[in-house]
Assembly symmetry: C2
Homo-oligomer: 202 residues x 2
């Protein structure tokens, strides 16, 4: 059998990503196999290889759609102009997403793309778009001329928050007393911002 016209290429792509998302959300990334995705969308495994180079490519596309989701959620927040409270609001929104979609988050950040595969530029752009929001939030800490400095601080803060969520998610971060992830992340934001202000005064 062949050449059904049930769906065109775009629809098929959307179907596949949707199925992948559903599988990852309910059973984790380990359940994301070519045969499983094919079953869900009612096509054969081979068809997936018309759409994606391989399974890793499919995962990258799934992660791309997760990044879009995250962006929509986070960019909906209104910023007050106060770096600390804005960063914490962003953080809260981010942690909410992590709690609501642990499987997707795990696939996004803890599943490592094989070194044989270079990260596509559209993927990098999606990350940058997210980081840009953080950049805007901390911009009041810097003069308009310090674009590079602002960008660097945003990168570091972003990576720092990622480190906390990532390690604690893997159980690799021994939590102190009754601290939870939110406490630690909040501590990082407060301290980091205080550090920037303190150094600016000198």
């Amino acid at each position: 059998m062949a050449r059904r016209s049930d769906h065109n290429r775009e629809e098929l792509y959307a179907l596949a990503i949707g199925a992948a998302r559903q599988i990852v959300e309910s059973d984790g990334i380990k359940a994301l196999t070519a045969r499983n995705v094919a079953d869900v969308i009612g096509y054969s495994p081979g068809t997936l290889y018309n759409l994606f180079d391989n399974l890793d490519d499919l995962i990258v596309h799934l992660n791309g759609s997760t990044l879009d989701d995250l962006f929509d959620k986070v960019s909906a927040l209104e910023q007050s102009g106060d770096p600390e409270s804005d960063c914490k609001a962003l953080l809260g929104s981010y942690l909410d997403y992590l709690n609501d979609h642990p499987g997707l988050w795990y696939a996004l950040f803890d599943y490592a793309i094989p070194t044989t595969m270079t990260v596509p530029s559209w993927y990098v752009r999606k990350i940058e778009r997210l980081m840009e929001i953080l950049r805007v939030a901390i911009a009041p800490l810097y003069a308009d001329t310090q674009m590079d400095e602002t960008a660097r601080a945003a990168s570091v803060l972003w990576a720092g928050l990622h480190g906390i969520t990532s390690l604690s998610n893997d159980g690799k971060l021994q939590l102190v007393s009754e601290d939870d992830v939110e406490d630690l992340a909040s501590f990082l934001v407060t301290t980091f911002i205080a550090g920037i202000q303190s150094r600016a005064r000198q």
Copy 2:
């Protein structure tokens, strides 16, 4: 054939871990298969299952030995008592290890233990032992009574540094201008410490 007396259980364990390390160092964690390890040590795949519950268990043990290595390297550093320079020395040592043994580092931090497997307590202890060194380095920033506060700050700094190395290693951190990992990590240490000092003054 069976019951060779070439090696006792301990020797066999050491052989297997050694083989695993060798494979991971030269060809990455993807090459770490039961059959590969068995080939290297001259035993059959089945024998590995007398020593380890499964491959993930073997990886956890390999990571345990990597943590020991890291501890030996990092604990050899003499601390001056100045938090910033001590943290940066630790950081430098850590980054050296990452550069020298990317495969082992990747297996240690970017390979996620499946959620079905709980992190063993001896493994957590090895991590804590490493973090303790960082705790000592930043201790001068706090009063002796602030043990919890010190521990929390060490956790956050540790996780933050991990976030930077981890993301940049995966190509998921768009680096600003000519910044490299060391610059970003250094920036985090400086700013974070300045933040602690600044807040202590108030």
